[in-house]
Amino acid sequence: MRILPKKIDGIKFGLMSPEYIRKFSVLKIITAETYDEDGYPIEGGLMDKRLGVVDPGLRCGTCNSRVGECPGHFGRIELARPVIHVGYAKRIYKVLKSVCRSCGRIKLPDERIGRYRQEIKTARKIGKNIDSIIEDLFKEAKTPKKCPHCGGEIFEIKFEKPATYLEDGQRLSPADVRERLERINDTDSVVMGFDLDVARPEWMILTVLPVPPVTARPSITLESGERSEDDLTHKLVDIIRINQRLEENIEAGAPQLIIEDLWELLQYHVTTYFNNEVAGVPPARHRSGRPLKTLAQRLKGKEGRFRSNLSGKRVNFSARTVISPDPSISINEVGVPEVIARELTVPEVVTPLNINHMKEIIIEGPYNYPGSNYVERPDGNRISLARVKNLDELLEKVKPGWKVHRHLMNGDVVLFNRQPSLHRMSIMAHEIRVLPYKTFRLNLCVCPPYNADFDGDEMNLHAIQGQEARAEARVLMRVQEQILSPRFGGPIIGGIHDHISGAYLFTMNDTKFTKSQAFQLVYSSGIRKSLPDPLIDENETEYYSGKQLFSLVIPEGLNLSYKAKICRKCDKCLEEDCKYDAYVVIRNGKLLKGVMDEKSFGAFSGELLDRIVKDYSTDDARIFLDSVTKLVINAISRRGFSTGIDDEDLPEEAKERIEEILRNAYKNVRKLIRAFNDNLLEHLPGRSLEETLEMRIMQVLSEARDKTGAIANEYLEKEEKKRRRENSARIMAISGARGSLLNLTQMTACVGQQAVRGERIKRGYAGRTLPHFKVGDIGAEAKGFVKSSYKSGLSPIEFFFHNMGGREGLVDTGVRTSQSGYMQRRLVNALQDLKVEYDNTVRDTRGVIVEFKHGEDGADTSRTDWGNIVDVGKIVRRYADQRGKK
């Protein structure tokens, strides 16, 4: 349905007067009955009868539209007696306290009232909030005494319980309260915060209750055929019943007590109808015992209207499935199952240029891929291709200006997302690649920003409908544009796991390939350059080195040097002559020295990748990543890479040395304890004796474990050389692919001290951790030091302590997620409307300036050099190189 778009100028909230309610209500509700015997809604009652339709087939009484169209219409209930609107209870109280009971003026001298009026006026001009001024007024005006205007006496103390007011012990009925509010004059009302256009104080008390349309409280038909009414309808029924009884009782005889009781009951029902969670009021319940969900509950947080239906909604043209890896597609692409491509459509406008192609697509129809599901006329009417009878007739009618809702096809731009969406890289634009089977496929390099793994994760996809949105996504949100993180200026998309260990093995000095091997590898990377000349080795045979072949993937003219991850941090760095091949030198796009590892194109440190994105283009970076990963994976697949328990084997000699270190450590611990007991222990500054003891012990044990690890590493390296067989676990750790030296240490040598809350294990039995120990035992074993390695296995006691430490880890991961989630929500809600303007100023939607220069320096963090704005050294070197060439 086409409606002219209108621009909203402003929104004002006010109160509804009884006259207003009577004016816009469609009908006066009289019966508490909903449906009649046949199940027909109707009657002069609560359902239908011009209030709106929910049943398909029926027409609305007022606007004659059908179920989809009619928005529903309000009705009203004439209350027999006025009732307090619980939402305004506090405010009514404040107003009552500030106003004279006889003359209705505020209990302050005119000058004071004038002052407040001025303040409000100026505050409105700056845009400042009025509430604090009104609060001050109420505070000042509540001081009892006499009324300065009419001299009338003011009775003190007006209590308020959930919705009742007591003056001097006497109950003020809602009618009484309304009378007093009616006496307040207009000027005084303004000063108390009432905008006269839309609100008068006495309207805070209800005489007529508006009844929401049927569409706002639809009934549900259960399988059994019964109709179940909405909670609100139930509440309204209660209200009508009591109201009727109250009316009858007033008409007939009127024992004051009965009237008052019924009135209070009516008040309870109306209160509960607005808000069922009011303090001090028993919530109205279903027959089942479950409390009803009334108006306030519908709006309130997390599952309520604002958070669950407005700030975030379910949308059409979306899809969700399990994800699986695909190293053969580009990082920019997403693999989409054909079933999904057929269900999600993209509206494409018919033009003289594409009309023939469009007609072909229409002919294919919804059941052949690629086809279309709907055709749309210029007036907006959609025609389902699944149910069209005469295709040729339709094809005749199709002209430029029509739209075809066609299936999703290769190259279409979609938004791909994984929840929780914590940063902007959790949603990125991908180009579609339609593939068989039922999972979404993504390139592995793009897992870190999504934080996705393939243990069953699902991800969401949104098909972009409009051309502008599509352009925005393609230019701003494509994966390759997001390679550098706005957090610190380095890449967050890059090689992971096997990419890194593969690259390391590939570019080691010893890797040689024959011509045919080299051809295979380079071809697999997608690069179509010709091979350079081969190198010659000692035996007069031609070969290609890993470094040579890798260079084919590096863009031309690139110059870069840095230390690789495998660098040992020797005291005197030999740089280019590093004997571990850890100093990377790339000159003119050729890898001359050093190995490729995590530091080169890994997801968080990739120096090489970083340089390519910044000095070349995002396209070049994408091509680089796509090629490098394919090349390296191919290489390591052909070579083979595996691990087994013998990667953690140590020779006897090593084991003995480890034993000795640990023995010594235990001895030292015992020494420390003895010193402590004999009062010979030296305090650390600012700590008690016990604390000092614990700290020293932890230090000794931790050093011991590290020393153990160093020994293990040393021997593992020696074994590698001796057996001429690489240790896969070690390779993964040093190249940065997966795991660290600590992991290796724990597997081969010694697991180390377990800790809960940062301290050695303390809790358990009285005075000791486990009954296996004597009371007061604070030795290494007794407090959770695990001497064994994972490979040798843990003793039952060690196992138990390890479990304690592990459990703490799991628990605080869970707690941490919800804590950080709440923090993220608050930050996002506060920051999401801020924008950096063209003058580098940061302003909100009102134009108020938040920062005069974004980040104080106006820099886009993703373009900085890991936080530094300019890398002067790089510029100097670039000049030097150029000058050198000349």
Binding site: D839, T841, R843, R846, G847, V848, F852, E856, D857, G858
Partner: protein
Amino acid sequence: MTRKLEISKHKLVPQHEILSEEEAMVLLDKLNISRGQLPKTYKNDPMVKKIKATVGDIIRITRKSNTAGESYYYRVVIEP
């Protein structure tokens, strides 16, 4: 014996200065905003009192920044 604490000399207090009428107009014009769209500060703020600024004045605060050396911030004085 007793010396008054000089707040403007404290490490964490940056330099505050009042803008002249012209400077103020230039600023508002350059940013294309009205006075109410500037960040605010109360007239009873200790530094504001020290500088003897009144409601409506705009003050320039110059502070050291890790990323930019020095950065300027402007505030308009309002009634608390």
